[in-house]
């Protein structure tokens, strides 16, 4: 087991991603952040809080993707988590999906389907804390905290203080 990102690394990555999101979308007017539970939702909240500090409040929501997973049949059913739409909805917005680790890309594919159920945003972008490679689908991230080359047998574990009592990204061999 080795530590890939410390608490301050995570903090800096979130701040940089926030700036990149603002730069790319020219501000917060048409912006919506949607976090994918569990940890993606906390990351979205952190990005939202930082953007609020520098430019003002940004619409933020939570997107549960359980019902759209293509591996539903392969494992026991999971309890559904709440999906929270921001007050203005997502119709015609520039939507930024936020997740902790980008791996096969299947979660994001499911998220794209789930978004289709809720409305039609003008664009969908993707922000992740860690990109560990090994994509199985043609999906890429627009904002990446850290690119970490891994082997398929390893796993990357993100800890966030809201859920795991500490901020840490570790590689488990």
């Amino acid at each position: 087991m080795s530590i890939l990102l410390s608490s301050s690394d995570i903090d800096r990555a979130i701040k940089r991603i926030s700036h990149e999101i603002l730069e790319h979308n020219q501000g917060i007017t048409n912006l919506v952040l949607m976090g994918i539970p569990t940890r993606g939702a906390y990351l979205a909240d952190r990005i939202s809080a930082f953007i609020t500090e520098i430019e003002g409040p940004v619409a933020t929501g939570v997107l549960d993707i359980t019902l759209h997973r293509d591996d539903l049949r392969l494992r026991p059913p999971k309890p559904l988590l709440p999906t929270k739409l921001p007050p203005g909805g997502i119709e015609g917005k520039d939507l930024v999906l936020v997740d902790d680790v980008l791996f096969s890309g299947r979660t994001i594919r499911a998220a794209l389907d789930a978004i289709g159920e809720l409305g039609r945003p003008r664009s969908v972008q993707l922000a992740v804390l860690v990109d560990r490679g090994h994509r199985e689908l043609p999906i890429r991230a627009d904002y990446v905290g850290k690119n970490i080359p891994t082997s398929k047998s390893e796993s990357v574990k993100v800890h966030l203080s809201e859920y795991d009592n500490e901020d840490l990204v570790e590689l488990i061999k």
């Binding site: 549960d64 019902l67 759209h68 539903l72 049949r73 392969l74 494992r75 026991p76 059913p77 999971k78 309890p79 559904l80 988590l81 709440p82 999906t83 389907d113 289709g116 159920e117 809720l118 409305g119």
Partner: protein
């Protein structure tokens, strides 16, 4: 999460029940959106096997299955080979051969659903949609959901809520399932009925018993009126319908005595003018239409939990 079958409200632990209700809440929110259909159960087949007549339970299960993209086959005893004398076993084996993933069964005999689940006639997940005078677990779940929706916030159970269940307890599978589930969730249940319409052994149930509706009506949060099952009233359980209605029916005088936040429920179909007056059924306190709406969400949750994930026998 529940696995296997749903045969009785007694099979559910408190956590499983609360989990189902919160899943139902999420599904209700999704299906209130512009797109009501989810891909979750695509390719699964749900058979509605109805040996007794039903409007809302069958339609509710059908709607729930279709919103999750399952294929639905409706089977009713009338117009099938059952009227030629085919047995439950042969019917079940026919459905097995056609590849049913879930069977929703309504049957006039108590224990029919358990019989299907315990034998090797069919491998599908069995959901009890009412068996004789025994149980109707999804009705209890939707009633709990409706009570929670109106009287409790998200996380909590039903502790402190006083529920009157009034009427034909003897023949009511709805009452049995509700007693099991609501008391498990912390509610206080009072059964109100003439002594002739209470089952033998009711003294051992975790409930209070009363023969007098007027003494109870002021101090309850929920009043659930049961249908007088005229088709099961061959023996004389009460002198006349008029006398029953005056002593145990919900009318506007009794409605006025209810506390401000109390709600009126009825599992349907209603005998307007017998156990519930028309103005009570249509009053603002009545949540009978909400019960029907919530039934779809609750049944979606049950189908999702039983069929959504890996099944026994699925290849990995």
């Amino acid at each position: 999460m529940i696995t296997g079958h749903l045969l009785s409200a007694a099979d559910l632990s408190k956590d499983e029940a609360l989990n189902l209700l919160s899943t139902a809440k999420e599904l209700a929110a999704i299906t209130d959106g512009p797109n009501k259909k989810l891909p979750t159960l695509r390719g699964k087949t749900v058979v509605n096997l109805f040996f007794e007549d039903s409007t809302r339970t069958r339609i509710s299960f059908e709607t729930a299955a279709k919103r999750l993209s399952a294929d639905v086959i409706n089977f009713s005893a009338k117009g099938s080979s059952v009227s030629k004398g085919e047995s439950l076993k042969d019917t079940a084996q026919t459905l097995q051969a056609m590849g049913a993933d879930a069977v929703v069964i309504r049957h006039g005999s108590s224990g029919a659903a358990k019989r299907l689940a315990d034998t090797q006639w069919i491998q599908a997940a069995i959901i009890n949609a009412g068996d004789g005078t025994h149980e109707h677990p999804t009705q209890a779940l939707l009633d709990a959901f409706t009570i929670k929706q109106h009287l409790r916030n998200d996380k909590s159970d039903l502790t402190g809520i006083r529920v009157l269940i009034v009427g034909d307890i003897l023949h009511s599978r709805v009452a049995r399932s509700n007693v099991l589930l609501l008391t498990k969730l912390g509610a206080q249940v009072v059964l109100v009925a003439p002594p002739t319409l209470l089952p033998v052994g009711v003294g051992d149930w975790p409930v209070e018993i009363s023969y007098d509706l007027d003494s109870q009506i002021e101090k309850c949060d929920v009043v659930m009126m049961l249908r007088i099952q005229l088709e099961r009233m061959a023996d004389s359980f009460f002198p006349t319908e008029r006398e029953y209605s005056r002593r145990y029916g919900l009318n506007s005088a009794r409605l006025a005595k209810l506390s401000k936040s109390a709600i009126v429920m009825h599992p349907g179909p209603m005998n307007r003018g017998l156990e519930i007056s028309a103005d009570s059924a249509d009053d603002l306190k009545s949540v009978i239409i909400d019960q029907v709406k919530n039934g779809v969400a609750v049944r979606m949750a049950v189908l999702y939990e039983l069929l959504g994930g890996a099944q026994i026998g699925d290849s990995k």
